[in-house]
């Protein structure tokens, strides 16, 4: 007997609108949405995933651009990294453009999308610390034309999840009209996954500095105390510069907050000193945060 089944008609739908895509997922809950496929198809090729059907999002033109609404840019989830890396986008949201340019080799950047980076939620996803620092919100599309907003950090932290047949449609990012920086450390000169990354965003209207550290934890980390402290030192109405010592202290503050020493054991024994790898990671985060803030304020 043979296991060569007559080729079952592959269930692939190619909806032309977001609502059609949601409808297709509602009709076939086992189907998997696919945009760039840079993570999904690798899993399929490895035999880790065998989707019963695919809903291709590549033909939904409303997801591939952006529009403006109430001081925000509403970014389509289908924006590719390559598109986000271009100068016109970089003028709008510089840190997101920098993270898109740093994400993988050109082949990946041409295919991989913003929505996919969020949905995969890999700790090393380069856009994630930027979105966390920008306090971006997701516009999630559900059955029957429903739309709801979810803060990106809620989704990444698992506080709110996508329901079946829901899709990330758009990402609402505030337009801050101020410098922002994304820096990423990798183990090499060529494209690689981040060992640590830092996004620093200035928000002059609210007199705030927002910082997020990526790749060192399952989700981006926000050192809120460090942000408030450094924002209080900045002369927002003047030249906005800071002394090198203040920048260095901010870096140390961020690193200590994101990679804390373990609490002392209850039995009063000595905490073992952190390993060289932990010390190096802390030093890396400190250097990235210091450099990022320095560049944002320069």
């Amino acid at each position: 007997m043979t296991t060569h089944a007559p080729q079952t008609a592959h269930s692939v739908t190619l909806p032309a609108s977001l609502d059609e895509a949601v409808a297709a997922l509602t009709a076939m809950p086992a189907a998997v949405p696919v945009a760039g496929g840079t993570d999904l198809m690798a899993a399929v090729n490895k035999g880790l995933l065998r989707p019963a059907g695919l809903v291709g999002l590549g033909r939904i033109s409303e997801l591939r651009g952006w529009h403006y609404q109430d001081g925000h840019a509403v970014l389509g989830a289908g924006l590719t990294h390559a598109r986000m890396g271009r100068p016109d986008f970089a003028a709008l949201i510089p840190a997101l453009a920098a993270s898109a340019r740093a994400a993988g080799p050109p082949q990946i950047r041409n295919a991989g999308t913003l929505g996919g980076n969020i949905a995969s939620a890999a700790p090393t996803g380069d856009a994630l610390p930027v979105l966390a620092a920008l306090e971006a919100d997701l516009v999630v599309a559900g059955p029957g034309g429903a739309r709801r907003e979810v803060p990106v950090s809620h989704l990444l932290a698992g506080r709110e999840m996508l329901a079946p047949a829901e899709l990330i449609g758009f990402v609402r990012v505030p337009l801050l009209h101020a410098p922002q920086v994304f820096l990423k450390a990798t183990g090499r000169t060529g494209p690689g996954r981040a060992t640590a990354s830092v996004a620093v965003v200035l928000d002059p209207a609210r007199r705030g500095v927002r910082c997020a550290v990526g790749a060192i934890a399952p989700m981006p980390l926000r050192p809120l105390d460090a942000e408030r402290w450094i924002a209080s030192l900045i002369d927002w109405d003047g030249v906005r510069g800071l002394a090198p010592e203040a920048l260095a202290a901010f870096g140390e503050y961020v690193a200590a907050a994101c990679i804390p020493d373990p609490p002392p054991p209850a039995d009063g024994t000595q905490v073992p000193p952190p390993s060289p790898a932990v010390l190096h990671l802390r030093r890396t985060v400190a250097a990235l945060a210091r450099r990022a803030l320095g560049r944002a304020l320069s």
Binding site: M1, T2, T3, H4, K46, G47, A98, R101, A102, P105, L183, K184, A185, T186, G187, R188, T189, G190, P191, G192, R193, T195, P276, A277, L279, H280, R283, T284, A287, L288, R291
Partner: protein
């Protein structure tokens, strides 16, 4: 004379000569270049046969375990499954191995490494085969793995022959000798993987006579056939290995461990069976470079001249012996490097562990010790306050000097000239001299590098490798040249691994016979053996055999003409298909002289014999040596510890340039592989388990990681014992470049850098680190 390739340095003096279009010295392009570029070149993974079945191999998830039971009933009963084989189904020898038959085809009682084959399945669909393999129920009694090679000596034997594969206590000179200056160091080299871009694949087709034909990218087809036949319980004549296109090989490919299960399945089912390894299986299955621990003590006088070198070298062979004995011989013999050392005491061991298996990867043994002895030379220079290049120059080896194995260096050894050439080459401009946007900082174009934190360093590495098999290996090769209808064909079982042998064979025939159109026949084991594609042997012995066969054809062709005109064949020459006499009086065409005949000749080339190292590591073990000096220039972000190699200046001893373009490519490829060894390539394990068997976890150099590679000098001093005076060129840069990068990072950071690949925390140079 020297020649310059791919460099802006002025051309050597002398009359301008137009580069030849074919023959030796021409930059002939490989015949398959177009097909490979366009993606139409067939590799083993592209093969297809009517009614073929798909194989899958069940591999051990544990590095060390006793097998309590194997139950294949569930797998064998699955629809679509045609055969399941385990150790019980191996009709011949249960184990194989090139020197010691210590490696089971399928693990029977004991699993000795993560990924060891337990069983194989043939089914009518690859997914069915994979599911069936997963359905084989194996009960393991998990044992504590031996993963620290230093503990292997005292550990329970992993194999009946014990854990010590080879021990060489080399002793040369006076043990009591001491120098005024002593430096010590401990060095660790990681596990490099050959990581071929095309993963392993093969197709086995049963033969009507009960034998089997295996189509695969073997790099040593005759040895593989003999080993496979022994396990099949067949005469070697009934097993045929047909070599398909080789998608990258810097180590062994598709070894018998891959071929034998497939052959068994084909003979069991009577159907063609195909196996295409996943990337994970590829990492688990093939041999890696030996992780090595090296402890050194160098004695020198106050002038910086070496007095004595003491070293202990420990090679982690993994579970099976493979080529470890030969790798150890190279490591021990070259432990002092291309330097004159009056007294040397080098003790080397290769031991079994439960780590992934180690074996042949080009430059093995020599690469690890080069990183260590060059580290010692840097230490010595720092202690004496000498320039590192100057210290090296005071010690370099030359022709006529004696190695610590007591072998006299009889081949050209222009080490001083090589080092001078890279030292005198102008340094690349500092970033401040170029606009900042053109400055690629450590960490890459969108990385976090900051110019203020970047320090530049310059370092040197001088490597030496042996050519051809060592210690008495019979390095014979046989080739046949046929000429018919103005077209020549070369038949030789030397595998084209990308080293360029087929192009070279065409050039040799063009040169000797003056025939432009030369084809090289595909390789199979019905042809006489040519030996493994390793240690540059095909350039030397197979190239030599092709030349001899071509010369015999030439004699056959010219003899009647020479007789007719009353002159010896040496007075006739063949160019562009025309035969002319020395004085130009006689002229005819090759086609006319052939007169419709077909000319054949077969010849062998066998280099002069070598001898095994004796119990104190002494003996003439090597046929020839090749040398390479590299100057590395690196930029290091001293806060993040990120390293970018800016430029590698290479000077190499090549004997004679046979194909300038191909030679430059081989050197560039070798240097790039060495950059991987130095910075990123390390197949890491945790308690014997490979952590990330994929190309994301295992970072091969990309175009952005590869530096400017400047070939500043190629020294053409012919090696009189080599057929064309040419030395194989691929391995020497692999050996020298990691040492050069480490040396440059030392210079940039002031850190000791004693571990490869260099981890970022080892390249950080800020206070309080």
């Amino acid at each position: 004379m020297s020649n310059d390739v791919a460099t802006e340095a002025p051309a050597p003096a002398g009359p301008e000569q137009e580069a030849p279009a074919h023959g030796l010295g021409a930059s002939l392009a490989p015949a398959d270049a177009r097909a490979k570029t366009e993606g139409t070149f067939p590799y083993a993974s592209d093969l297809w046969a009517e009614g073929l079945l798909w194989a899958a191999v069940l591999r051990s998830p544990h590095p060390h375990a006793r097998i309590v039971s194997i139950d294949t009933a569930a797998a064998a009963g699955m629809p679509g499954v045609r055969a399941v084989v385990t150790h019980e189904d191996v009709p011949g020898d249960p184990s194989y191995g090139r020197r010691i038959a210590d490696r089971p085809v399928f693990a029977a009682e004991l699993v000795r490494h993560h990924g060891e084959a337990i069983a194989a399945v043939a089914a009518d669909h690859p997914d069915t085969a994979r599911l069936a393999a997963a359905a084989i129920a194996v009960e393991y009694d998990v044992l504590e793995p031996v993963t620290d090679p230093e503990k292997a000596f005292a550990a329970e034997p992993l194999h009946p022959e014990g854990n010590l594969i080879r021990h060489i206590p080399l002793s040369y000179g006076d043990p009591a000798a001491t120098g005024e200056v002593v430096v010590e160091g401990l060095y660790r080299i990681g596990r490099q993987d050959p990581a071929p871009i095309g993963a392993e694949a093969a197709l086995a087709v049963p033969r009507p006579d009960g034998g089997v034909e295996i189509y695969t990218a073997s790099t040593d087809p005759h040895t593989d056939r003999d080993l496979a036949a022994a396990c099949f319980g067949l005469d070697p004549e009934r097993v045929k290995i047909v070599v398909t296109g080789v998608p990258g090989a810097t180590g062994d490919r598709e070894d018998p461990g891959f071929q034998i299960p497939l052959g068994l399945l084909a003979m069991r089912t009577g159907c063609p069976v195909k196996l295409a390894a996943t990337r994970e299986e590829s990492f688990l299955g093939h041999a890696h470079r030996h992780p090595t621990l090296l402890r050194y003590r160098h004695h020198a006088d106050t002038e910086g001249r070496l007095v004595k070198v003491e070293a202990q070298i420990l090679l982690d062979a993994g579970a099976y012996a493979d080529d470890s004995a030969e790798s150890l011989a190279a490591a021990v013999s070259f432990a002092c490097g291309p330097y004159v050392v009056p007294h040397a005491f080098i003790e080397g061991w290769a031991v079994r562990t439960n780590n992934p298996p180690s074996g042949h990867v080009r430059g093995e043994g020599a690469m690890q010790v080069c990183a260590a002895y060059e580290g010692q030379m840097d230490k010595l220079a720092a202690k004496l306050g000498l320039d590192p290049a100057e210290l090296r120059l005071r010690n370099v080896l030359a022709t006529g000097d004696i190695l610590p194995t007591s072998q006299t260096v009889t081949c050209p050894a222009p080490v001083a000239e090589l080092l001078q050439a890279v030292r005198e080459h102008p340094l690349p401009p500092l970033p401040k001299d170029t606009p900042e946007e053109a400055w690629l900082l450590p960490g890459g174009p969108e990385g976090a590098g900051e110019p203020g934190a970047v320090r530049r360093g310059v370092g040197y590495g001088i490597g030496m490798v042996h050519m051809l098999g060592a210690e008495g290996a019979d390095e014979v090769s046989t080739a046949t040249v046929k000429v018919h209808d103005g077209v020549a064909t070369v038949i030789c079982a030397a595998v084209e691994t990308g080293q360029g042998f087929t192009t070279l064979a065409r050039q040799i025939v063009q040169e000797t016979l003056g025939i432009e159109e030369v084809h090289v026949a595909p390789v199979d084991t019905d042809q006489p053996p040519a030996g493994p594609a390793a240690h540059g042997r095909h350039t030397w012995v197979s190239g030599g055999a092709v030349e001899r066969a071509a010369k015999m054809v030439r004699t056959q062709l010219l003899q009647p003409l020479a007789h007719k005109f009353g002159m010896s064949t040496e007075l006739l020459q063949i160019t562009d298909g025309k035969i002319t006499s020395y004085d130009g009086v006689l002229s005819t065409t090759v086609t006319e002289a052939m007169d419709g005949k077909e000319l054949w000749a077969t010849a062998q080339c066998r280099p002069h014999p070598t001898e095994p190292l004796d119990e104190s590591g002494q003996g003439d073990a090597f046929v020839g040596l090749a040398f390479c000096a590299i100057r590395a220039v690196v930029d290091v972000d001293i806060e993040l510890g990120s390293v970018r190699v800016v430029e590698m200046a290479v000077a190499q001893d090549v004997g004679r340039i046979l194909n300038p373009a191909q030679l430059a490519t081989r050197i560039e490829a070798g240097v790039t592989q060495g950059i991987g060894t130095a910075l990123t390539e390390n197949l890491r394990t945790t308690r014997g388990l490979i952590r990330r068997p994929d190309l994301t976890g295992y970072a091969l150099p990309t175009a952005l990681d590869a530096p400017d590679i400047r070939i500043v000098k190629l020294i053409e001093e012919r090696d009189v014992v080599a057929p064309f005076g040419a030395k194989p060129a691929s391995a020497a840069p692999v050996v020298a470049s990691p040492a050069a990068v480490a040396s440059a990072v030392r210079a940039a950071t002031g850190r000791p850098v004693s571990r490869l690949p260099i981890r970022p925390q080892a390249a950080v140079a800020v206070p309080n680190s």
